[in-house]
Amino acid sequence: MLRTRLFFGLLTLILLLWGVGAAALLLVRDATKRYEASIQENYPPIKLSRGFRTVTAGLNAHYLPVLAGAPGTPVPERSKFDADKLELLDRLQALHGDGKKPTGMEDVVLRLEQAVETYFEGYEQLFSGNLDTQEERAKLLSYMSAQTQRITDLSDHIFSLADSRMLSGTVRSDAESSKNTLFVTTLVLLGTGIAIIIYYQLVRHMVDPVVGLRRSIEEIRKGNFELTLPEPGADSEFRSVATAFNDMAAELKVRRGETNERLLRTNLVNRAILEAIPSPVFVLDDDGRILQVNPAAERLTETLGVANRLPAKIQRILDESNVSGENHLPEDPREALLFRIEEKEFYYLPRIFSFASEDGVYSGRAVLLHNVTRIRWLDDMKTNLLSTVSHEIKTPLTGIRMVLHLLLEERSGGLTPVQKTMVSSANDDCERLLTTLNTLLDLSRAESGSTHLERVPVTLREAMQRAERLFGPKAAQRDVTITVEATEGLPEVNADPLRLDEVLNNLVSNAIKHSPAGGTVTLHSSQPDADHLRVSVIDQGPGVPEEMHNRIFERFFRAPGQESEGVGLGLFICREIMRAHEGRIGLKERTGNQTEFFVDVPIA
């Protein structure tokens, strides 16, 4: 573990530090001690030896001038001599007592002892007073000075001996200390080595993994998931990091694999969808360059001779929609563009819409060419059918009807009752055929005309009254009463009056048709919710069987057993009209003996 390694490494370093410090302290103390010892050892002889010269010099200065003077000069008291003699003997004793005398010192001390003996003998001679002659005096004086000189030399010798011994002690301690320096240096070098080892360990176990991690992260950012971190040893803290990182990289790789797979799949699905769309589709980028086209678009552009480019007509519309910044989504097949392909006419309705990714980074436009050729054809067919049916059927019918009417008018001569019955019957059939024909035409108009409402504010009461007026006579014929119950104070509705009348007329007509003789048809207005007004048409007829409630608004639905004429389109057309109004039409649950149809019309 790096932690332990670091700990032990630094611990060693610290121990070394302590060691070096302790060694230095010990060495210093040792040197001091040795120096003190050397001083203690060598200082007494030096001091003692120095004393010899002083004492002898003092003695000489006190006594010897006598010798230089005239004979007979009295010799001073010998008491000083005795005192000094004792002191010199003490010093000699002390010199002897110095145990650790250096080599040669013993010998010199002995000689000094002898010299001091002889020196004392000279003074004994002086004190004896036998010196009468000048000659003897001079002789003693020179003897004394020679002895003094000798003591001085010897004491100097001792001094120099002690001195040199001290010096040699210093040299010895120098050698000692250089040995110590070597020791300390070794320790320091060792410490440095350990520090270097710790540094490399740190770099290897901490910095390298971090650098590796960073490099790997950068690689992953570039999309290279292949690079994995080398796993450090089991004891490294980075092992878990590296493992986690490698896991993450592996996960990312898998994810990217999945993403790629998903992209591929999405792409495939998109292609399949595009290929399945029979309409030519162009996907463009923002600059109008084509990114993708489907096979239908390829075929179209190839047959138009502008392989994989937008046809010029569409390009123009695209540019316009680009300028206006709006989608171009026409609904009306009449806005379709004509393309001539192999002598045939094709109509394509271009639908252009922009798309953008959620973050708005990617955007583009798609052009879908909706083939409305068939719709156009059907539209034309319907128009043609309308006029064809109108003309080709109505014209002969007009002739037939005219003739039947004229026959019934009996202008050209009377008819027998049988003839009259037959012509009447034929006339009835003719009228029914005409009604059916007109209803069919109405139907085609209602289906195509639901977008052509011309809505204005309409007062419901008036619409109800119009219906009442229109059907009054017919109702009277069948002994049915029409009553209008218009609630006061209702707002106007937003409706196409002609269409609304058509619906009401249909409902009222039905109500009359199904009313029993003597019954009442009620037109009632109310407000079922905030946005609508309601007209209810209530009759007292037998009602609609429960199971047919859902079907009565279907096209061509006719209640079974119904004897009234009609092709079953009336309520269907009504529903279409109400749908176009964003209104409602319905049949209420039967209550009492009343059947109630209602229409809800949006309020203006």
């Binding site: 309308l386 006029s387 019918l397 037939i400 019934l408 005309g449 002609l498």
Partner: protein, 204 residues
């Protein structure tokens, strides 16, 4: 439905000379029979009709819109170009809005929708040629003569305007303003409702 034969109204005091133009022989025959109170002549196509109208004086022409060679509208336009202001009734199973506008521009304001009943045929002759006493007929007489303003005033003055009068008011007002938008609006209305609102009906 019960047959509603016109059981011989009061014979009009005047016999008019009426030209029936239709490519259907049965219709020519039937129309002639129905108008037996008047002097009728027939033409089977536009060219023949124009020849007859050039050569002799007629009080009224009942023109089929759709005919081979020269159709009803071109007959009207040729007549008007030649300065002939003969009243014309345009008769067809379906009349497109553009046809209607062309007709009205050619001072033809009477339309009959096939299938035509004899009563309607007789009624429209009366309506066109002796409008006196009927407010709507008088108003339409103004329109027929190109006096649209007067026609509008008359129509506006009528009480209880039915869908027919409202439709005519709308169309005439649109034409009066002369603006393309108004005509387009009128066009749209016509397209939606067909011509049923404009066509002549026997007053019930």
């Amino acid at each position: 439905m019960s047959p509603s034969p016109d059981s011989g109204a009061v014979p009009p005091p005047v016999r008019y000379k009426v030209l029936v133009v239709d490519d259907e022989p049965t219709l020519r025959l039937g129309f002639s029979y129905a108008l037996s109170d008047h002097d009728t002549d027939t033409a089977a196509n536009g060219t023949e009709a124009l020849e007859k109208l050039e050569s002799g004086p007629y009080d009224l022409a009942i023109l089929d819109l759709r005919m081979p060679d020269v159709d009803g509208l071109r007959v009207i336009e040729t007549l008007r170009r030649h300065g002939n202001l003969l009243p014309v009734v345009l008769c067809s199973a379906v009349i497109t809005p553009s046809a209607a506008l062309r007709a009205i521009t050619g001072q033809v304001v009477d339309f009959l929708l096939k299938p035509v009943r004899p009563a309607e045929l007789r009624g429209i002759v009366r309506h066109v040629l002796s409008p006196v006493g009927d407010g709507f007929a008088e108003a339409m007489a103004h329109a027929r003569a190109g006096r649209h303003e007067q026609a509008i005033r008359n129509l506006e003055a009528m009480v209880d305007p039915g869908p027919r009068i409202r439709a005519w008011l709308g169309i005439l007002r649109a034409i009066r303003t002369g603006s393309l938008e108004a005509e387009a609006a009128a066009f749209g209305r016509l397209e939606r409702d067909g011509l049923s609102a404009l066509a002549y009906r026997v007053p019930e």
